[in-house]
Amino acid sequence: MGEPAYNSTELLICIAARQMPDSVTAFIGTGIPMLAASLAQKMHAPNLVPVFEFGGTGAQLKKLPRAVGESRTFYRGVAASGICDIMETAARGFVDYGFLGGAQIDPYGNLNSTIIGPQHHPPKVRLPGSGGANDVGSLCWRNIIIIRHDKRRFVPQVDFLTTPGYLTGPGAREDAGLPPDSGPYRVVSTLALLDFEQDTKRMRLLATNPGVTVKQVIENTGFELVVPDRVGQNEPPSAEELRILREEVDPERFYI
């Protein structure tokens, strides 16, 4: 038997899901994070507590939410409150994991989802804006960034710093007034899994995706990555992961 076929979205979801341990709270945004959380809940993290921006806490993700405020974000949840309660719950340190995306990322995990180009207004390209991302990036303990991997996205400096990563490096978050010991934790890209080096807070290659070489990752990154001597390899989605993902997480094939 060969390995099961899968697409790149499915791979991202599976790798993101594996980053979440059991028994944690996770701030879930639209799209891949929802699928990753749902998959994790059904695989290895039955006690994962999803928290949604506009008030849902502890939903049972039987059906996949299609938006951050919709009914399924609190379906059979333990609480349905409002955005202030959720953001302030994160401010008090109760939210372990957050998920982030963006159009650009820099070596310190800072993200841009606001504009492309040098000028704020009028901009060359207007993107949707921060949304809850800045709050998630500021207040959750560990953030997982999910992003397509190419040189246009992995840039030395973001055009606009929408959401804080480690800002300018070690100590910069704390200097800015952000809560200590928080920040980006992993980057799950279409090519690799990355984290941030303890001492420099710069992005570091942890493992490449199936069929991807270290060289390819470096070539598709617009800044110098920290590349340790030993780089791991991400396992492809297992048959079980794919079955649950396709049959239970997103049977309507809304996302995958």
Partner: protein, 323 residues
């Protein structure tokens, strides 16, 4: 107060809590019948150049009937507080927006908003001030508390703060840096709810988004409701009232008032029409055709429901999941 950093963004709505107090002092405390059509509510209380806000977000419990009426009446030069999908997209697409306190305007899973890109990149929207979702809601919260600002630990260290009108100061108790978010008082707030009585006492089921804060941060408040209930019902369960009547200026009866979005426990969102908008909004012609079909070309919400189709609406109701 020693300010370490000041956002470059302008306060697109002047900040004057004492003026807000004086305004609120003049609002009636009497239970009077405020039930009216969306046409009357919007023509009486929304005006060119006013600062407008909508709640909730995306495709969830948005005041679509009220927003369509604002577009129909062509209220222009609007200043907006922005987080939205279908509701603010309509206002942008119709060219009615002058300034934007933006946090997120996009189509969520369907991608970015063409309407936003066109309106902002062209400079048609004259000013854009950045916030996070938390930030903009905390602005309402500050206003709802009757104070000029509240401190938060978000937005710090970023361009989001730099292009906002927030400020950074040192906490006089702990010495830590905090971000001060200025209060935002809306000229007009639009909120869609599950139930209201004719005086404006309103209830919401499921998540409450930022209805509590925004209702209390609005000088004028227009409520649309799926159902008009008797005040007797309100008085039996006063703990379920999230918006008390004295905050409210108009009550509009609007079943399916969040369509094509959803209303929890009542109806599902209309995927087909949402996708229809995504597609239509890619071009100027498509946008105009959509607006003509669903807004300009229909007289009111009743006719809108006819155009959408009563059967289709019934099927959205039938699709609702239980509790």
């Amino acid at each position: 107060m020693n300010v370490i950093e000041s956002g470059l963004g302008e306060l697109t709505q002047p900040l004057d809590i004492d003026e807000f107090r004086r305004w609120n002092r003049e609002k009636s405390r009497v239970l009077v019948d405020k039930l009216m059509t969306e046409e009357e509510a919007v023509s009486r209380f929304v005006y060119d150049g006013c600062y407008l806000g909508t709640e909730l977000y995306g495709t969830v419990r948005c005041p679509m009937t009220l927003v369509r009426e604002v577009v129909r009446q062509g209220k222009k030069d609007l200043r907006l507080a922005g987080q939205g999908v279908t509701e603010l997209d309509l206002l942008l697409a119709a060219g009615l927006v002058k300034t934007l306190d933006i946090t997120y305007i996009g189509l969520e899973v369907f991608g970015t908003s063409r309407a936003l890109r066109q309106a902002v990149e062209s400079g048609q929207v004259e000013k854009v001030v950045e916030w996070s979702n938390g930030g903009i809601t905390w602005r309402f919260k500050a206003a709802s508390m009757g104070v000029p600002f509240i401190p938060v630990r978000s937005m710090l260290g970023t361009d989001t703060l730099r292009y906002s009108s927030a400020k950074v100061v040192e906490c006089p108790f702990t010495g830590q840096k905090v971000c001060l978010i200025p209060a935002l008082v809306l000229d007009v707030g639009l909120i869609h709810v599950h139930q209201a009585d004719r005086y404006g006492n309103a209830r919401i089921e499921g998540i409450s988004g930022f209805a509590f804060e925004m209702s209390r941060a609005s000088k004028r408040l227009i409520i649309s409701a799926e159902e008009i209930v008797d005040t007797e019902e309100i008085r039996r369960y006063p703990d379920r009232t999230i918006i008390p009547y004295y905050l409210v200026d108009a009550v509009v009866h609007a079943p399916f008032g969040s369509h094509p979005g959803e209303m929890v426990y009542l109806y599902e969102r209309d995927e087909e029409q949402l996708r229809g908008w995504v597609e239509a909004s890619q071009t100027v012609e498509g946008t105009q055709a959509y607006l003509h079909k669903y807004v300009y070309g229909v007289a009111d919400h009743e006719q809108y429901m006819d155009v959408v189709g009563r059967d289709r609406l019934a099927s959205l109701k039938a699709a609702v999941e239980g509790r």
